[in-house]
């Protein structure tokens, strides 16, 4: 009946500078407990339908070079870093 909505509460941005890093792509897919990141043949791909499941654990941020992966809380405009 109704369409499923994605990206209502959380959005994720991955800098172009690291999006093509195969090691990072693999690492992000491994650490995220809710499968937001997919290793698409060595590129970091964000799985939109899982964004709202983000548990704010920061494992993706810790796995990446500082500032290259940003988790945005759409409900209050802040960002995890």
């Amino acid at each position: 009946m109704a369409e499923a909505l994605n990206k209502v509460f959380i959005d994720v941005e991955v800098d172009e500078s690291v999006a093509g890093d195969a090691a990072l792509a693999a690492k992000l897919e491994e650490v995220c407990p809710v499968d937001i990141y997919k290793d698409a043949g060595g590129r970091v791909e964000v799985v939109e339908q899982n964004l709202d499941e983000c548990v704010l654990c920061r494992l993706c941020i810790e796995a990446s070079p500082p500032g290259t992966v940003r988790v945005k809380k759409l409900y209050d405009g802040s960002e995890l870093s």
């Binding site: 009946m1 909505l5 209502v8 709202d52 499941e53």
Partner: protein, 406 residues
């Protein structure tokens, strides 16, 4: 899980208890054949998961195979208390000298199975226990030790039964106790256990119930010997669409647990509540203050946003639901912000304003500060632990129908 009489008879038979030469039939012709084989007067008994078969006309006597077929035909079409029979049992009409009761139940206080025996069988054992207590023998059995025959013997002897009757009844009760334990039963009864005119003892009726949690490990009995299919769960009532949908959402995602029931509920306030004890408390609180819940539900463990959203949507889509109340007892394991996301998303996906649709959000506990941020953003009225579950229910009821009639 409940058993039909014909299945319960099989269970006691497998345990070595003497039974009659009964036949389970699904057509009038089969009934005729069994009656012919028995070669004497028979009883035709409806096989339904309901009591009161006699009164409803589901138990008939027949002197000839033709009569047996006739009665079987009629009984196979007879609905009893909303149940249609699976078939009929064709039983030789017994020459009974005396009827006894043998049963095993759980004693939750002693935490052991309890054997019961009475020489006043064929009637309600609870009535006998009340009116003729010295005609009911009781005795516990160990959960760990093998069950020796003498423990059954003691229970029977306490009713005054002696002689050959004592010696014949003893192994029946002992076997019943053993099968109760081995097959994870919550109830195992033979009533009546009949002493026939020739002195033999037979189970003329049997009633069994197995614990649902144990069904998974009783496959040999259920699937092989009784041939009961896995889908055949014998619930006390047919689940509604709402209940089935919620169960499906729960099964598809291992994160957290949700449950929904609406049997016997009719109202305009949908309840998205938890956890178990919290759900009971909140449902009472809503009703006591004049609210009309459309359903009962339980949220437990740490559900995903999708699961919380799925439950809320199912509740919102129920006929007659105008608003939902999202309330839980203090949570440690469930995340307040995740549930908030889920219920708000449910409203948005249905094109509804969360601030309007959610009458109140009361979930104190883990990640509540984050949850409050989300609720603020969407204009949802919420409260923290300083507002009791009773008060939160009050606010929900007031929102939907004005001041509550307490």
């Amino acid at each position: 899980m409940r058993f039909f009489e014909y299945e319960a008879r099989k269970v006691v038979e497998l345990a070595g208890v003497p039974v009659t030469k009964y036949g389970f039939c699904t057509t009038a012709d089969e009934a005729r054949k069994v009656a012919e084989e028995i070669g004497g007067p028979v009883v035709i008994k409806s096989q339904v998961l309901s009591g009161g078969r006699m009164k409803a006309g589901g138990v008939k006597f027949a002197d000839t195979p033709d009569e047996a077929a006739e009665h079987a035909e009629a009984i196979l079409k007879l609905e009893i208390n909303g149940h249609m029979p699976r078939g009929v049992l064709v039983d030789p009409k017994a020459e009974i000298k005396q009827e006894y009761y043998a049963g095993v139940v759980w004693d939750g206080t002693a935490k052991k199975p309890l054997m019961l025996f009475s020489d006043m069988g064929g009637i309600d054992i609870e009535e006998v226990a009340e009116s003729h207590p010295d005609h009911v023998g009781r005795g516990h059995v160990s959960n760990l030790m093998p069950i020796p025959d003498f423990e059954a013997k003691q229970v029977i002897a306490a009713t005054g039964v002696t002689g050959s009757q004592l010696n014949r009844a003893t192994p029946v009760l002992a076997k019943l106790a053993r099968l109760f334990r081995d097959n994870d039963m919550t109830l195992a009864e033979i009533n009546p256990l009949a002493e026939l005119t020739d002195g033999s003892f037979v189970a003329l009726d049997a009633h069994m119930e197995m614990e649902n949690e144990a069904v998974g490990r009783q496959k040999a009995l259920l699937r092989k010997q009784l041939e009961i299919a896995e889908e055949d769960t014998r619930e006390t009532y047919e689940p509604s669409d709402f209940e089935r949908h919620v169960a499906a959402i729960d099964a598809a995602d291992h994160r957290g647990v949700i449950q929904g029931k609406d049997h016997g509920f009719e109202g305009n306030l949908g309840l998205v509540i938890g956890a178990g004890g919290g759900s009971l408390t909140l449902t009472d609180a809503v009703r006591s203050q004049g609210g009309k819940p459309a359903n009962y539900s339980e949220i437990g463990g740490n559900p995903s946003v999708a699961k919380a959203c799925g439950l809320a949507k199912e509740v919102l889509e129920k006929d007659g639901v105008e608003k939902i109340a999202v309330m839980m007892s203090i949570v440690s394991n469930t995340r307040v912000d995740i549930v908030a996301r889920g219920v708000i998303k449910a409203c948005l996906e249905l094109g509804q304003d969360p601030g309007e649709t959610i009458a109140i959000f009361r979930i104190p506990g883990a990640w509540e500060e984050e949850g409050f941020k989300i609720l603020e953003k969407y204009g949802v009225e919420y409260c923290d632990r300083s507002v009791s579950m009773w008060e939160a229910a009050n606010r929900a009821v007031t929102k939907i129908q004005g001041a509550p009639t307490a």
